[in-house]
Amino acid sequence: MSAFAHPALSVRGLCKSFGALRVAQSIDLELAHGARVGLIGPNGAGKTTLVNLLTGVLPADAGTISLEGEVIDKLKPEGRVRRGLARTHQINTLLVEESVRDNVAIAIAERERVAWSMLRYAKAWRACLEEADERLREMGIMDVADRRVSALPYGQQRLLEIAIALALKPRVLLLDEPAAGVPAAEAHHIHEVLERLPAEIAILIIEHDMDVVFRFARHIVVMVQGRVLKRGAPAEIAADPQVRAVYLGRSTV
């Protein structure tokens, strides 16, 4: 249990600028095992940028990121994923020509390290397909497993995006607006899925719907202009006058 001596994800002094624009100013963040952290802030606060810095899609100017005590600053995005840091994208990046099942199976093949095997098809790949079906059943989209992603309704594409991230068996999961662009009726289904996510995964969620965040998260971080403005329990945040002023003024929470 030595891994539990460290937080699942720990960020210290993360900085990033585009020219004069400072999109991340010395950000500290900690996710305990099984944490449920909500990241909120107005548009342009640097939320998605933070996710991109954590996953390594953008190189950070300064700061340290560690995953269960292991410093992962120098790792490429794919290396961070293999160590258990998965994400979903705000805009779908699915393999549109593949079936729903294959989208998940391809991810499982990477996780199981069988994606390098060139000359054996049958056994390894079949196991991936079977596990993919299991994931799809959990998400409640098994009935569309054979459909091409390009022919899938948007709400189900969002669920598939989450299914793929889960298939990687991450220790830390970053959800970038998992219900963005989804009609209210279908969004409800996505929120249900979020409630049922495995308890041991540490989760950071970016979400605009305040009802969802305040119900889901046990800890909330508020970002404004690349800085952390406030952090605390949902009740504290909702009551904080400063937060209300910059961000929640129009909310009913």
Binding site: T55, V57, K76, P77, E78, G79, V81, R82, A86, R87, H89, T93, L94, L95, V96, E97, E98, D102, A105, I106, A107, A109, E110, R111, V114, A115, W116, S117, M118, L119, R120, Y121, A124, W125, C128, I164, L168
Partner: protein, 317 residues
Amino acid sequence: MNPAWHALPWLLAIAFYFTAGGYLSLGTSILVYILLTLSLDLALGYAGIITLGHAAFFGFGAYGAALFAIHVNADPLLGLVVATAVTAVFAVVTGMLILHTQGVTLLMLTLAIAVLLAEAANRAYKVTGGDDGLQFTMGPVLGLFRFDLWGQTAYLYTLVILFVWFVIAWKVVHSPFGRSLDGIRQSQARMRAIGTPVWWRLIAIYAISAAMAGSAGALSAQTTRFVGLNTLGLLVSGIAVVMLVLGGTRRLYGAFLGAAVYVVVQDFAAKVNPFYWMFVIGGLLMATVLFLEGGLMEVLDIGRRWLRRLLRGSDPT
């Protein structure tokens, strides 16, 4: 697909051997082109590596086989293996340099490599024979079958090597590795997000593809006992792409159809007027892109469905 269909192209190739007569050497060059096009299908069709530089590998293999036969050993199989291996190594080195780029930049870099290699071969005429090329003799295949005047050994030798490579290609594209290439073609961002080492994966398929193209070049040199600078030319790269798309990408058999149709059309059209074939090929290309994205394989699919319906319709049960 019904397994019986897999036998069809190979049966046709064997039937051609017995009926070709004076056209057998044309058949051998079709087989060589099929192998080259097949190699391109792996890199361009499946992995989406946009390249106009496959002539570099074709020529590398061709000169490799020729130089090996002249200076080391005239055994064809040994020469083929060596030429294939050095081409793969060359592809790993160049692939590591260029495969982090995409789109037009990648296109230009692959082109630049082919031009650089062609210029180098042209300058190093003491080794390569320059414009005159290299003429050489080959030993018998397996120490038994001499390359005869009618090109019978050449045809069968090429066919066997093509078959071996086809089986490898089939296995590769249907393996988990091949599925990850499909993913990389569609979205590199997605594949990085699931932990795929995209760059290494691309280098791997680039090397396999290049090895295949190198084999094609080596076979071309060995079966004609000649290699010239044209093996490195831009036209070879272009023709391979044309054949692939004409036949249909990501089908493997598309290479067969594309190469065969291209060579036959060129042969006939060129007899009418040397420039006529450019018109035909150009028009064919444009029509394929606009109206038939699946290439000729799609026509074949439609025909097969039609045939099946016809057979079922006439079936009393």
